[in-house]
């Protein structure tokens, strides 16, 4: 793996501000798909293994894409300069949809009450969930953006469910 290729891909990840796919990196860097994949693997190794203790930044796979982000350990101070966009009660509703998907809006209403309508509107507007007509109600699922946005390394509902279950258990153990 050439150093130059790794630097090119690193600069693309750094400037993108959001997860980018291999296709986009290929186009921006002018490298072949193979070189991009190799550079990504090498970057993950450099940031997350070799420089583990020497950097507060990590390179991760999010959905089908790749991104550079602040390590969880350093969230608290970064939050002050990079304000979060989603309110915490919307995040809870999203966590319920992601776990139970596909879930009917009417069933979700039974869990969280009438605020479900506002939350579904907001989350749909952010393109994090899809709401499809299903009889008199709507059937809710997460979109492709969901794992990308939250840096979850899978697009499969079953694995997303597992990821969330672990997170919930983790938060109790703390």
């Amino acid at each position: 793996m050439g150093l130059r290729e790794e630097r090119l891909v690193e600069s693309v990840l750094f400037s993108a501000s959001k997860p980018v796919g291999i296709g986009e990196i290929k186009e921006a860097s002018g490298l072949s798909k193979k070189k991009v994949t190799e550079a990504l693997e090498s970057l993950i190794q450099t940031y997350n293994v070799e420089r583990k203790k020497e950097t507060s930044i990590e390179v991760i796979k999010a959905g089908d894409k790749y991104t550079m982000q602040v390590k969880k350990k350093f969230f608290d101070q970064s939050v002050m300069v990079a304000k979060p966009e989603i309110q915490s009660h919307h995040l809870k509703t999203l966590a319920l949809i992601a776990f139970h998907q596909p879930v009917k809006q009417s069933n979700l209403r039974r869990m969280i009450g009438p605020k479900v309508y506002d939350h579904v509107d907001e989350l749909s507007a952010m393109k994090l969930i899809n709401a499809k007509k299903h009889g008199t109600t709507e059937m809710l699922t997460t979109t492709k953006l969901f794992p990308e946005y939250f840096g979850i390394d899978t697009t499969k509902p079953e694995e997303i469910r597992e990821f969330l279950a672990k997170k919930v258990i983790g938060s109790i153990e703390k």
């Binding site: 959001k18 991104t67 982000q69 039974r110 946005y149 840096g151 997170k167 919930v168």
Partner: protein, 277 residues
């Protein structure tokens, strides 16, 4: 815990009144059989779910169990009553779990293909138990299980050439908008005339166009993309309300807004702008 439902709904007075009514009715019926006020309050809460259609998720079974156990340790309890209350709690739990089983309908349909007798009790119930615990934990925990990652939000400057390109595109957009707007006005005119003929010149037809424009301005300037009809016009003035309602129908016909109700037919009318702004 029994007031949880009421606290959650603090913006919905009508529902609170409804609950209070239910409690009143229920307590009148039961007060003869349950004398201990503690037992009675628990019984009331469960009765709201089982017989009065309160959302089963509004009952916090975990808090209930620990509270009831504490009470049982502290004083002698009437075993008959306790048994009845536990039975009710079990039924509420069943209702909560049933909700989750319904949620997974779609998934289960797929898996029913290789369904065997030996599978009956375990599959669905194990999963719904997981789902039950997860839902409960997410709702009770002060922090959501999802956290927004922190990434850069850097933006690049725009070059002059892009501004020129944007002007080119904007000119095309203006032409398109004006054409669509002309067609829309003609169509609105046609509909207004049609309505005028039907109404025999009784209503405010002369000002209809103006009313629609005024209301559209209000909708555009509203800080949110969705709003209730009463938030943009005076509900107490029935003439104004009907005028606004008519304009809303025209705007919906023009596909500038979407209108909907949560409660049919007498519930509030909601307006949502669609991709126009």
């Amino acid at each position: 815990m029994f007031h949880k439902a009421l606290i959650d709904e603090d913006n919905d007075m009508s529902r609170i009144n409804q609950y209070l009514d239910m409690v009143k009715r229920t307590s009148e019926r039961e007060h003869l059989t349950l004398t201990n006020p503690f037992d009675r309050s628990i019984h009331l809460a469960f009765d709201l779910v089982l017989n009065q259609h309160l959302n089963p998720w509004d009952i916090d079974l975990v808090s209930f169990s620990s509270m009831y156990l504490k009470k049982a340790k502290e004083e002698r309890i009437d075993l008959m009553t306790a048994g009845r209350i536990i039975y009710m709690a079990w039924k509420v739990l069943r209702m909560q779990s049933d909700d989750l089983v319904v949620n997974m309908e779609a998934k289960e349909e797929e898996e029913e293909l290789d369904f065997g007798w030996e599978d009956i009790p375990t599959g669905a119930w194990l999963r719904s138990d997981d789902g039950y615990s997860y839902t409960n934990l997410v709702m009770k925990s002060p922090r959501p299980p999802l956290e927004e990652p922190i990434r850069r939000d850097s933006k690049r400057k725009i070059a002059l050439i892009e501004l020129l390109g944007a002007f080119d595109q904007a000119r095309k957009d203006v032409e398109e908008f004006q054409l669509v707007d002309k067609l829309r006005r003609e169509e609105r005119q046609r509909l207004a005339e049609k309505a005028r003929k039907k109404m025999n010149g009784v209503a405010h037809e002369d000002y209809l166009e103006e009313d629609i424009d005024l209301l559209w301005e209000k909708i555009c300037h509203f800080p949110k993309k969705s709003m209730s009809l009463s938030s943009i016009c005076e509900k107490t003035d029935s003439k104004e309300y009907i005028k606004a309602f008519l304009s809303v129908l025209f705007l919906a016909y023009d596909k500038k807004i979407r209108i909907y109700q949560h409660k049919f037919p007498y519930g509030e009318i909601y307006i949502k702008t669609i991709g126009y702004i």
